[in-house]
């Protein structure tokens, strides 16, 4: 089954003075269970592509298909529901909420589902167990190392059992040992749970670990 299909997708950012073409007629198909790396220099449109796939942004032209369905709606509630049920995000700078304990951070995606507090907690603890952080549930993000914070972010991305995991330079703020650890975790999620992973990186060594690499340059697909 095809998880992602981008048909002739372009994205243009317009201001009063300038028009910037961030992505230019991208065609992309990612099968269910694939691990795709997106590579390219800074400003080539990698994050824009991820935002379009993640329904955080809408294309100026073309169509995004997700899990076999074309995304035609622009309604906030409908898009929020698809993001909540289908997609998990991992960000370069973790984006954990500093006032919330680790377990509460992980519960965030479940807050927007019709679940009891007990069930939310059970699932969050399970996700933290998956990333090896069961002993840190009551810590606050500021009390954890960068690698641990990223593992919490991965637990948060996985807690809703999404079919698609989007990781935007997940190792960008980590040293290489921690980066390897995080990458191994993503590989494990892809291998064992069959979760489709799309990872943006500028590190060729990281990209080599993916099954396929998409290369962008100046908003264009070059390989």
């Amino acid at each position: 089954m095809t998880m992602i299909r981008l048909e002739d997708v372009s994205k243009v950012y317009r201001t009063d003075r300038i028009e910037t073409l961030a992505l230019d007629r991208i065609d992309l198909t990612v099968e269910d269970g694939e691990f795709l790396a997106v590579m390219g220099p800074s400003g080539c449109g990698k994050t824009t592509l991820l935002n379009l796939i993640g329904l955080l942004d809408t294309p100026s032209e073309g169509t995004v298909h997700l899990a076999g369905e074309p995304i035609r709606t622009r309604k906030d509630r409908a898009l929020a529901k698809i993001r909540n049920r289908t997609i998990g995000f991992v960000f370069q700078s973790f984006h954990l909420i500093p006032d919330l304990k680790v377990v509460d951070n992980v519960e965030i995606p479940l807050l927007y589902r019709d679940l009891t507090a007990k069930e939310r907690r059970r699932r969050a603890l399970h996700a933290l167990d998956q990333v090896g952080l069961s002993s840190r549930i009551d810590h606050f993000p500021g009390q954890l190392s960068g690698g641990q914070q990223q593992r919490v972010a991965i637990a948060r991305a996985l807690v809703g059992e999404p079919r698609l995991l989007l990781a935007d330079e997940p190792t960008g703020n980590l040293d290489s040992a921690m980066g390897q650890e995080i990458l191994s975790l993503l590989e494990e999620v892809n291998r064992e749970d069959g979760t489709t992973v799309v990872m943006v990186t500028h590190d060729p060594a990281m990209a080599e670990r993916a099954r396929r690499t998409l290369r962008l340059y100046d908003g264009r697909q070059v390989a």
Binding site: N51, G54, L56, D57, D76, R77, A80, K81, R83, N84, R85, I87, G88, F89, F91, S93, F94, H95, L96, I97, P98, D99, L100, D104, E107, I108, P109, L111, Y112, R113, A117, R156, G160
Partner: protein, 413 residues
């Protein structure tokens, strides 16, 4: 979700203590002033002893007379009330009473001043006074012009040094009256029941009051239920329309059977006694409250915007993980309402202190400004209103932040 929002609200309050302090100060001060006003209004208009049946009581509190070239407003006299306010349909009981104002009396060589009211027997059946000694005088006492009186606790203290008063005598307009009952002090601003000494209508020094169309009387009408108000008002209005004043410069009456609030609204909006404007008075009070809240609300809107802007990273994350704009609006509103409820609680304490201070000055005789459940409910409503007024716009604006833009900012404190 609500629990999470409440927990988040608590955490956000602890983030910037100076911001929180400034916000809470503004909110509590604003709400304290409004609660103070609500307490004063409740003190005047709310149902409380002895006016426990205020919900089904109408009154004839004033009388206007109009002619070709002159008009006059004042109080009705006994003859007017006897002719037009007696035996109205659906009225369970009516009472006619006189306000004689401050009276000077001498007791064992001491000069004492008290407020005298002369009443009929029904007065004591419509109003529920709290007797600390004895009881009221009855209709029969009034009919037989027995020289009896009810006094309040302060008057008992002044006359008898706090000792038992029933069976002893007080001087009422030059005649000794036997005290038959002592009641707890009634606040001055409860104009219908208030007095220091209540004596029968019939023990007045003369009977001139019986023939007066205009005088110093007022009437209260106890309806069977509030639903009977329209009928009572209509019949009274009809009687007044058909009545003709005694020959002279006036040719018609203006009067109404009103709730006390309606009567005050007449006084506020009209010099004529024929139009009551309770809805306008309510609107005026509500507008004043909203205007008073507007400036601090705008201030709080600004503070909220800057507080929420700091959280754009968090907003981005929540959106990415499935929060709709509606869910985020709800969350921020809950946070703001928690803040204003805290401010409201502080405001309630401030208002209670201010009321205790006002009460202790003695400027308003026998004032009793205790906060009751009604004031608490008003306070809660005001705090919620303030929270929504100052929270809706920032919450709405922030919930519509573009997630891509929001995620560019760090999720920071």
């Amino acid at each position: 979700m609500l629990r999470h929002a409440l927990g988040m609200a608590w955490k956000v309050l602890g983030r910037r203590k100076v911001f929180t302090g400034i916000s809470l100060f503004g909110i509590s001060f604003t709400l304290a002033v409004l609660m103070l006003a609500a307490a004063l209004l409740d003190h005047v208009f709310g149902a409380q002893p002895p006016e426990t049946r205020l919900g089904r009581t109408l009154g004839i509190y004033g009388l206007g007379m109009v002619g070709e070239s002159a008009s006059s407003t004042g109080f009705p006299g006994y003859r007017f009330l006897e002719s037009h306010a007696r035996d109205l349909p659906a009225v369970e009981r009516e009472s006619f009473f006189r306000n004689l104002g401050w009276i000077t009396a001498y007791h064992r060589g001491r000069k004492l001043t008290y407020w005298l009211k002369r009443t009929d027997g029904a007065f004591w059946q419509i109003l529920e006074f709290d007797f600390v000694e004895g009881g009221p005088f009855a209709a029969e006492d009034v009919d037989r012009a027995r020289r009896v009186a009810v006094i309040n606790a302060s008057t008992r203290d002044a006359f008898f040094g706090g000792g038992p008063a029933v069976g002893r005598t007080v001087d009422v307009e030059g005649a000794p009256h036997e005290v038959v009952g002592v009641v707890r002090d009634v606040p001055f601003l409860r104009f219908t029941p208030f007095a220091d000494v209540w004596a029968p209508l019939t023990t007045a020094p003369n009977d001139a009051w019986r023939d007066e169309v205009r005088g110093d009387f007022q009437a209260i009408l106890l309806a069977r239920s509030r639903a009977d108000f329209p009928e009572i008002k209509a019949v009274f209005a009809h009687r007044i329309a058909e009545a003709v004043p005694p020959p002279g410069e006036f040719d018609r009456y203006h009067a109404g059977a009103d709730t006390y609030f309606e009567f005050v609204s007449r006084a506020v909006f009209s010099s004529q006694a024929d139009a009551s404007h309770p809805a306008r008075l309510r609107a005026l009070l509500a507008t004043a409250a909203v205007l008073f809240m507007l400036l601090p609300s705008l201030n709080l809107v600004n503070l909220n915007l800057s507080r929420i802007l700091e959280r754009s990273g968090e907003i981005g994350v929540r959106k990415a993980f499935g929060a709709s704009a509606r869910a985020l609006t709800g969350q921020f509103l809950v946070e703001n309402v928690v803040l204003t409820l805290l401010g409201g609680a502080a405001g309630l304490v401030l208002a209670a202190l201010a009321l205790a201070g006002l009460e202790s000055t003695g400027w308003i005789p026998h004032a009793d400004f205790r906060l009751n459940l009604r004031i608490f409910a008003w306070g809660l409503a005001l705090a919620l209103g303030f929270g929504l007024l100052s929270g809706v716009y920032p919450a709405w604006r922030m919930s519509r932040l573009d997630p891509v833009q929001a995620l560019r900012k760090r999720t920071s404190r």
